[in-house]
């Protein structure tokens, strides 16, 4: 049997992958450049096939709180938005982290601050991996660099978020969301039955049965000693995730004298840049973090003993570069190159920046 390969946008791939994964509910609000997610879902009408609920909410605030409610029932629920809308979702994300609820949020980033531009950006890195909402919490963050990964990371995001009872985000941008590529969609899975959800999520609010105490989903604890214990439990969980769930891709790193560090669309550009560099005889490699949190700190530290310098390439003013510098801790120079406002760096531009800032 031939493989089922289709051509589609990254945003469409997210929608199709959600249906195929057996997601129970999607709640969203239109915003450029990610509206194809909800449009595709409404067109596919999965409530007729898998029983998946798709609802256009009155706001991003309502949408993320619908995700909170659905997640509290142990359901696979998700939302998607773009930067200004994701700012509005931070309240709900913080509450989900505090109540230890799983769920998937997709951010197809655009430039900011404010309404900014509808063109692509990676300027929400800080917001995503450094908190975003209030309180000490972490958000599992996946950064796809292709339409295929947009599809694949729906499943990965749900798996990780349910494994750790923590929200997960696909942090992508208008390039990956809007570009069309070949994609192989996963097999259609059936949605879990009520009984399967009860077994997988004994904490879920599905209605109190006689054999258990009431389930309560809350982030509230007014007793400071108890709240500190909650915080310690969250932090212990985050340390386990940092230990076990780091994902990254290495390209031509083995003999590299210089390392580009880039995620998502910036990494796609850098793939071409290392080709151009190698054609000129420069040994340049690319380390692409796939998880932005947990961050590949140890791997970057290891490369600091090998390379002469690192260039963090981002569609922003320099955000991930701070984490690269923390990882490298001064062993080698770490510089940043980025464009803002929706301007996409060119492969030549990246190579020129590498030469100017590090090789000279």
């Amino acid at each position: 049997m031939s493989e089922e390969i289709q051509l589609m946008k990254g945003n469409e791939a997210i929608a199709h992958a959600a249906i195929r994964y057996g997601v129970d509910g999607y709640f969203g609000y239109p915003i450029t450049p990610q509206s194809e997610v909800i449009e595709t879902l409404m067109e596919q009408a999965p409530w007729k096939s898998t029983g998946m609920v798709v609802l256009q909410a009155e706001s991003e605030v309502a949408a993320i709180n619908m995700v909170y409610g659905g997640a509290a029932c142990g359901k696979y629920v998700m939302t998607s938005s773009s930067s200004p809308g994701v700012s509005l979702k931070q309240e709900g994300i913080s509450y989900m982290a505090g109540a230890e609820l799983p769920g998937l949020i997709v951010n197809v980033q655009r430039g900011g601050p404010g309404l900014g531009t509808i063109q692509p950006s990676q300027a929400d890195y800080f917001q995503t991996v450094k908190g975003g909402g209030h309180g000490d919490y972490r958000l599992i963050t996946l950064a796809p660099a292709s339409v295929q990964e947009m599809a694949d990371f729906v499943a990965l995001g749900f798996e990780l978020s349910f494994k750790y009872r923590n929200p997960a985000m696909i942090l992508t941008d208008g390039v990956i969301g809007q570009m069309m590529e070949k994609v192989r969609l996963p097999e259609q899975r059936r949605r879990r039955t009520d009984q399967e959800v009860r077994e997988q999520c004994p904490w879920a609010t599905l209605g109190k049965t006689a054999d258990r105490a009431p389930n309560v989903i809350t982030s509230l604890e007014l007793d400071s000693a108890m709240m500190e214990k909650n915080n310690e439990r969250f932090q212990a969980k985050y340390r386990v995730i940092e230990e076990q769930e780091v994902r990254y891709e290495e390209m031509q790193c083995d003999d590299a004298d210089y390392l580009l560090v880039a995620f998502g669309s910036a990494a796609r550009i850098c793939m071409k840049s290392i080709e151009l560099a190698r054609a000129e005889g420069l040994k340049v490699g690319l380390l692409r973090p796939i998880t932005l949190w947990p961050f590949p700190t140890k791997e970057l530290r290891r490369y600091a003993d090998q390379v002469k310098g690192m260039l963090s390439v981002e569609l922003n003013a320099g955000q991930m570069v701070e984490d690269v510098r923390l990882a490298v801790n001064g062993v080698v120079p770490v510089e940043h190159y980025g464009r803002m406002g929706g301007i996409i760096p060119t492969p030549d531009g990246v190579l020129d920046a590498l030469k100017e800032k590090l090789i000279r």
């Binding site: 609920v53 605030v61 709180n65 995700v67 909170y68 659905g70 709900g92």
Partner: protein, 253 residues
């Protein structure tokens, strides 16, 4: 006659509902919340819905509602209870989902979530406690605070010229096609409690029957926030709240 004879079942006229647990309530003496909790617990038991009910607690004095009634609960962010209820009911259509919200939660910060859930006709029940003040945070002005009423953020009394008029949000909700029941009641007398129980039962039955959104507004007292005795607060409510928030059905279909 000894006390054990008097305690015989045929003499029983008042009892703690089986779904209310023994957790010590944090509500002030004289507060309406405890009575409404009791009524809700009784209705859930009488309808046999304990295993099918999911309650959504608000932010406000009733933030700990989940501590007192032995059902599954979700504790929402401030004002977002109708969004949680929407998803919960859509994903579990055979369950009975209700929110329990105060006036600040429902009629200020949660106005959008409330109106849009009702406009979609979500098959949920909303129990709305309107005591015209923010109790949990210590007596600040609420959207439903009456004109000239003194609170810690309107110490000279609510000036409607600068602070807006007390919001009759139930009247707004009653206009929406998605709403099947919009009714105003109280719990300050035994008769009023009985009436409220009937209305909450109707709201829960509507939610199960898929008739749309039911809103039961309980005009309530906050004697601590109003700085009155419980009895004086009841009198003040009858005299001042009822004329502006009249008791009765705005819509019942």
């Amino acid at each position: 006659m000894d006390i054990e004879t008097i305690k015989s079942p045929e003499n029983l006229v008042y009892a703690k509902p089986e779904l209310m647990n023994d957790n010590h309530m944090h509500y002030c003496p004289g507060c309406s919340h405890g009575v409404v909790h009791k009524v809700i617990a009784e209705v859930i038991a009488e309808l046999g819905l304990q295993e099918k009910t999911i309650g959504i607690a608000p932010v406000g004095c009733a933030v700990f509602a989940y501590k007192y009634i032995d059902i599954d609960w979700q504790e929402a962010a401030h004002g977002r209870a109708p969004a949680l209820a929407t998803a919960t009911k859509r994903l579990l259509p055979d369950r009975m989902v209700f929110t329990y919200q105060g006036d600040g939660d429902l009629a200020a910060i949660g106005t959008a979530e409330t109106i849009h859930a009702a406009n979609r006709g979500e098959n949920i029940a909303i129990i709305f406690i309107n005591n015209g003040i923010y109790g949990m945070t210590g007596g600040q002005m609420a959207p439903t605070t009456l004109s000239d009423m003194k609170t810690s953020t309107s110490p000279e009394g609510r000036n409607v010229e600068t602070m807006g008029n007390p919001l009759k949000i139930l009247d707004m909700l009653a206009l929406l096609n998605g709403v099947c029941l919009a009714t105003r009641t109280s719990v300050h007398t035994a008769a009023a409690v009985r009436k409220t129980k009937k209305l909450i039962k109707l709201a829960f039955e509507n939610a199960m029957a898929g008739k749309g959104t039911s809103i039961v507004e309980v005009v309530s007292t906050c004697n601590a926030g109003w700085k009155m005795t419980p009895a004086a607060a009841n009198d003040w409510m009858v005299e001042h709240m009822f004329p502006y928030y009249p008791i009765g059905d705005l819509k019942n279909i």
